[in-house]
């Protein structure tokens, strides 16, 4: 639904987005993940026609954004929940949007109810809104025109845990009904639980993309974690069979599948306490590693050995 092709945006000598290509499909939630300043927001601004690209193109459902008639009816956009006139009420902001798109005012009340802003809150001025309330209002505004594509920049920012769960359910059911959702975040956990597809971006370049299983599969064979009554004896037997063995916590990490390790233990007549496939490094380690050179802080755990997360 959203197709980004070889998108590059540079400011003088600085390249904010560097040859980025990806798609966000209808019926799915696509997570756009990267540390601060990785180029997520710039990409989304190009998508919605606010920033001209240096090279490359973005189409939404086959159209350039500027060619969409009454774009609010097709694409719901939330780029910054705080970018609203502080002196307007929440209700007024939605009313202006509804009027621009040619929607009945009843739509405003529907949206307010959907994002749980009550009558009193909707009549308050936005300068008195918390970030979470602004975020809800922004989501209401994006959904106003009943669009089939949603582009949301950091929508979970400022929401409390209950709010984040609410938003997750909302976007999930929206995608299940056939909508395409692209949401950005710098927080992995937010995206991991909701996105069908993830795009990892660092320093303007895409460093990895795919679903969670695909991303983790790229990490290679992970081996087995085993703990025996006599670790030393088992280790000797495994090394004798040609496997690599390293101590890990109270047990061993072996470069073989669990069934092989079990058989070796049977042959060596060692009782096992614990035997399981190593889950390896989680998505978070992968994320931190892939975007390591763009992080401000050097991540401490890029080469985790016996992680049992």
């Amino acid at each position: 639904m959203i197709r980004v092709e070889n998108l590059t945006k540079s400011y003088g000598g600085f390249t904010a987005v560097d040859d980025v290509s990806f798609t966000a499909e209808a019926g799915r939630v696509t997570g756009f993940l990267g540390p601060n300043g990785a180029g997520k927001t710039t990409t989304m601004r190009v998508m919605t026609g606010l920033t001209p690209p240096t090279r490359g193109s973005v189409t939404i459902g086959g159209h350039r954004y500027a060619d969409l008639p009454n774009p609010g009816r097709h694409v719901g956009v939330l780029l910054d929940a705080s970018a609203q006139h502080a002196g307007r009420t929440g209700r007024e902001v939605l009313a202006l949007g509804a009027r621009t798109m040619g929607l009945p005012t009843s739509r405003v009340d529907e949206m307010l109810a959907l994002v749980s802003l009550d009558e009193r809150e909707s009549k308050r001025r936005i300068k008195n809104y918390s970030l979470g309330m602004r975020q809800r209002l922004g989501i209401a505004h994006a959904l106003l025109g009943d669009p089939s594509v949603l582009i949301l920049d950091e929508p979970a920012n400022g929401l409390d845990p209950a709010g984040i769960r609410w938003m997750r359910g909302l976007l999930k059911s929206y995608a299940d009904r056939g909508g395409a959702v692209l949401l950005s975040s710098h927080l992995l956990h937010e995206v991991e639980q909701i996105a069908d597809e993830m795009i990892l971006i660092g320093r303007g370049r895409i460093v990895a993309q795919g679903n969670k299983a695909e991303l983790l599969a790229g990490q290679g064979a992970l081996g087995t974690l085993v703990q025996a009554a006599d670790n030393e004896l088992l280790a000797r037997a495994l090394v004798g069979a040609g496997h690599e063995v390293a101590p890990a916590g109270a047990g061993l990490r072996v470069s073989a599948e669990p069934v092989v390790v079990g058989q070796a233990a049977l042959a060596a007549q060692v009782a096992l306490v614990d035997l399981r496939a190593a889950e390896g490094r989680g998505l978070e380690d992968l994320f931190l590693e892939l975007t390591a050179d763009t992080q401000r802080e050097a991540p401490a755990a890029t080469t985790v050995q016996g992680g049992t997360r």
Partner: protein, 284 residues
Amino acid sequence: MSTTTADPGAVRPPAALDVSSTPKVPFGRLASVELRKMLDTRAGFWLLVVSGLLLVAITGIVMAVVLANDLGISANGWVQVMTVPLSLLLPIFAITSVTAEWSQRTGLVSFTLEPHRLKIIGAKLAAVVLLVVATMVLAVALGALANLLYGALSGDDVVWNVDASQFFWTVANQLLYFLMAFGLAMLILSTPATIAIYYVVSLLLPFMVYSVVVVLVSWGADVIPWVDLGYAMAPLVGGGATGPGGVGLEVTGTTYAQVAVATLIWVVLPMVLGGRRVARAEIK
């Protein structure tokens, strides 16, 4: 739903958007939204209230002074009086209508709902012109009332002497100042900076600097009308009465040339350059 994704039976929803049945946002709707945006904030509300109070206050003061000194005033005089409070604060509407999209960052929403930025600028312009016309109508109505009241209070004959050409130029003058504010706003894209520059150019310079230059410097009276809208239009608006600084007020061919040049400098140029800036600027 205006799109193709509503079919619940589809296993894989189509990747293309069918936009053929969606009409564009009509210009009139955009203009009505822009007009509403001017007035729906607290700042907009108070700006209107204060302007209204100024209008009433000035009517009262002029009435008192004229009656006390037995000066006599006609309908034409009232129209001239009424335009003053309107030109004092209302140009701020023209400015913030543009600059708020940047200062308050509402442009992120406005320009995604209508990506053709000059269409939005056109809608804002239409809203500003509508505001000028509406307030002028109000001023004329109030002026007529004041004129009747003056007749009743002074016992003099009520004089209805509004000259068509003079009235036309009064409205044009008002409109050009609003357009100048609008153009400067597009060029500068910052609320406080635009307001400051607008009042320096439209009020401070003419009253504090040009008025002195015209009197004291030999070439002043020849040059100033070419570079200041107020001086350029004074003969047309004043209709032969005294203008600022008491410059020669006869309407000649030069007057029109001066109006054209001053308009070019302060209205056309900011509009064109500002329009280009708005069309190209990145909205952040």
